[in-house]
């Protein structure tokens, strides 16, 4: 076997003038090193190709095909150009789901972030049992989304829900609020649940970011006469900027693809009032219509949007590190 050749290295150095000499010595070593590198790379490449690249390419291909129920078994689906995308943009329900997605993502992110930041700031100052309280606040994050959705569905039930019972008992409302049963309030109902789920994630990451800010800076600011509010504005916020970027981008990508919560609570109803692009895309493919091509087109649009934000985020991150 080649590896028993002990003098390969010596050959390479000494036999340089000889015509074929250097290659004889270096090539096996080089080949070995390339093989080694390739060997370590292969699992990642294969994994990515099979589980990310192939489905992605197949999905893009699918979005340009007229792939209905008749194509499932035969695999025969004619290409129809931009037909699926055109169909999607002619569909009033899809347009509604786009607006719904914007509202859902924007309000989820805003509320999750503000509440998360408030809690993180609150827990920066330790007090008795603060550690326990902080870990209790993580519970929503640990709960399976289906469980959270089901619990909220019953809490927001119009006739029997605890939320309405409390509102009625405290005379805040005179009639039960039809939370998930009216197109005007259903989005609010779904948002309440999703915000509750997302707050711990924001809190944990922002809390970590706050811990990394040296206490000395606050002392210096205090000496310069900065009050709590000014300290927050001029010390906390600028130093927390990279962490805020991470929280918001991850939150955005995460919220864009929220499915379970909405599906369990309303199935996109009442009358499509809570359909987002994610749930409607699923509905198109698997909800009985079997419009797999159109559903794939909806999925592709989501990927493009999420991808755009990911690139935007990576670029801002690079600018950040480059500037230092």
């Amino acid at each position: 076997m080649t590896l028993t050749l002990p003098d390969g290295a010596v050959h390479g150095r000494a036999g340089a003038p000889a015509g074929g000499g250097p290659g004889d010595g270096r090539r096996p070593r080089l080949r070995r090193r390339t093989l080694l590198r390739l060997g370590f790379l292969a699992p990642v490449v294969v994994y990515t190709a099979v589980f990310f690249l192939y489905p992605l390419i197949r999905n893009i291909q699918l979005s340009f095909q007229d792939f209905g129920i008749q194509s499932v078994y035969s695999g025969q689906a004619p290409y129809n150009g931009l037909g699926n995308y055109r169909k999607l943009f002619d569909d009033p329900v899809f347009l509604k789901s786009v607006t719904n997605t914007l509202v859902f993502v924007a309000l989820s992110l805003l509320c999750q972030f503000l509440i998360g930041l408030g809690l993180a700031e609150f827990f920066r100052h330790t007090f008795p049992l603060s550690g326990l309280l902080r870990s209790l606040l993580l519970v929503p994050w640990l709960l399976p989304l289906v469980v959270a959705g089901t619990v909220f569905r019953w809490m927001l039930d119009t006739s029997n829900g605890v939320v309405n019972q409390v509102l009625l008992a405290t005379h805040l409302v005179s009639d039960p609020v039809p939370w998930l049963n009216s197109p005007h309030t259903a989005m609010a109902g779904v948002l309440i649940c999703n915000i509750w789920i997302g707050v711990p994630f924001n809190m944990v990451i922002l809390y970590g970011g706050l811990q990394a800010i040296p206490a000395g800076l606050y002392e210096a600011a205090a000496l310069d006469g900065a009050g709590r509010r000014q300290q927050f504005r001029h010390v906390t916020l600028p130093l927390l900027k990279p962490v805020i970027g991470v929280v918001l981008t991850l939150g955005l990508i995460y919220t864009l693809k929220v499915f379970d919560v909405i599906w369990v609570m309303t199935k996109g109803g009442p009358a499509n009032a809570t359909h987002t692009v994610t749930t409607y895309g699923y509905q198109l493919s698997f909800g009985g219509l079997s419009e797999f091509g159109v559903g794939a087109a909806a999925g592709d649009l989501l990927i493009v949007v999420a991808g755009l934000f990911a690139v935007f985020y990576l670029r801002s991150l690079r600018a950040e590190t480059g500037g230092r």
């Binding site: 008749q70 078994y73 009442p270 009985g288």
Partner: protein, 420 residues
């Protein structure tokens, strides 16, 4: 030490290289076996007993244990072993399996999904495999047909009826309603503010919502191919009036049929629209003071109609195994097993004779047995197009009952959406 000496000849990199290579190879082969395992199991065991795969979604109560027993005994008769798998989201799973040509040999699926699956070509023609449907209700036979071929046979079927709380009706001096007007007055009288509603039904944004609404829609004489007919509008106006007046809770838009049963059992609803499969749950909840009447009709003396409910047995298009699967289905849908299965699921047997026998012994089942004859297969006229109509229909019901659109406008939009 020998270690330092051997390090000079660099034995390490090659060893790690082989390690890396083997790990890469292992990852690859793992992937390949994972992808191909579906097709390798499809081949029958050589010479030995044939194994058929089966899928259904019965995951609760006695049916979960009884179904494998029935399958075992029927498998034995056909000389095969049946391997059962419970799949909650069966329709999606079957479509996925159809696309990779790995459909199970036997499936027990919801009847409105049958035609779409048959349209893919993934199912076997049971008629060609020698299955007879003599003695079954004609509408039940029709629900298993697609383009003139028999792809599915139901062991038992169901339809909806009106349950009422005897005690509450006696207290209020109300007779069980038979017409829509009586239903409206009764529901109003039985409503007690937010504490109790007169009537409950389930119209969530799923097939379940269409199924429940169809018992009003079809009783009105409307046709599923025309969602915005006057009859259809009158049916939706009825439900809209019940919800707007507070006789039925707004929650009907999110409740499932199981939720409605819970509310009826705890006395929050005086009447409910539900199927016979809820009977064991009601008894389990300790609710005994209930009566059941056929669905009310628009005018006195009308014939109630509704959508035919229940699951059908179908066989995957898997060559020689399909013939064995057809034999198993033949046994599962025989008069005797059909009756056993129907008793377990509190369904109505698909054989007219067995149904009559069941009704004679169980007065609770009488209204449901009566309902079957007038029930319509959801896919009878629309075929594989039914899901598109159904989605349009449940959306219309939700739009109207949530106050977004008038019943007429909602159904007009539904018809346009379905035929788009």
């Amino acid at each position: 030490m020998s270690g330092t000496a051997s390090r000079g000849v660099r034995p390490r990199p090659p060893r790690t290289a082989t390690l890396a290579l083997t790990s890469a190879a292992a990852a690859l082969s793992l992937l390949l076996t994972a992808c191909s395992s579906g097709s390798t199991t499809a081949a029958g065991s050589d010479g030995g007993e044939l194994t058929l795969t089966e899928m259904d979604y019965y995951n609760t109560g006695t049916t979960m244990t009884a179904l494998p027993q029935l399958l075992n005994s029927c498998g034995k008769q056909a000389g095969v072993t049946v391997k059962r798998q419970i799949v909650p989201d069966l329709r999606t799973k079957l479509i996925q399996l159809a696309s990779s040509h790995a459909v199970p040999d036997l499936v027990l699926l919801d009847n409105p999904d049958l035609q779409q699956l048959a349209a893919t070509g993934a199912l076997a023609d049971l008629g060609a495999a020698g299955l007879s449907t003599d003695g079954l209700y004609p509408n039940v036979v029709e629900a298993g047909r697609y383009q003139g071929k028999q792809y599915g046979v139901a062991p038992g079927v169901n339809a909806l009826a009106l349950y009422y709380n005897k005690k509450l009706l006696t207290q209020a001096g109300v007779e069980p309603p038979t017409t829509w007007d009586e239903l409206k007055t009764a529901a109003k009288k039985l409503t007690d503010g937010d504490k109790r509603r007169g009537l409950g039904f389930a119209v969530p944004a799923t097939e379940e919502g269409s199924f429940q609404f169809e018992s009003f829609f079809l009783s009105a004489g409307a046709d599923l191919t025309k969602l915005d007919s006057d009859q259809a509008v009158s049916a939706l106006e009825l439900l809209d009036g019940l919800v707007t007046s507070g006789s039925a809770p707004k929650d009907v838009l999110t409740w499932t049929q199981a939720n409605v049963e819970e509310q009826f059992a705890n006395g929050s609803l005086a009447m409910m629209v539900n199927g016979p499969w809820q009977l064991p749950q009601l008894k389990k909840a300790g609710m005994t003071e209930y009566g059941i009447v056929p669905m009310p009709t628009p005018t006195a003396g009308g014939t109630p109609s509704g959508a035919l409910g229940g699951e059908v047995w179908a066989a995957g298009n898997n060559g020689a195994k399909s013939r064995k699967a057809a034999e198993v289905i033949k046994c599962m849908t025989s008069a005797k097993n059909s009756l056993t299965w129907s008793e377990l699921t509190t369904y109505v047997p698909s054989s007219r004779q067995a149904a009559a026998k069941l009704a004679a012994g169980d007065p609770d089942m009488q209204p449901f047995v009566d309902g079957i004859a007038g029930a319509q297969g959801r896919t009878a006229k629309l075929g594989a197009k039914y899901p598109a109509y159904s989605q349009a229909l449940w959306t219309a019901v939700q739009s109207a009952l949530s106050g977004q659109k008038s019943p007429r406008a909602a159904l007009g939009d539904a018809q346009r959406q379905a035929t788009r």
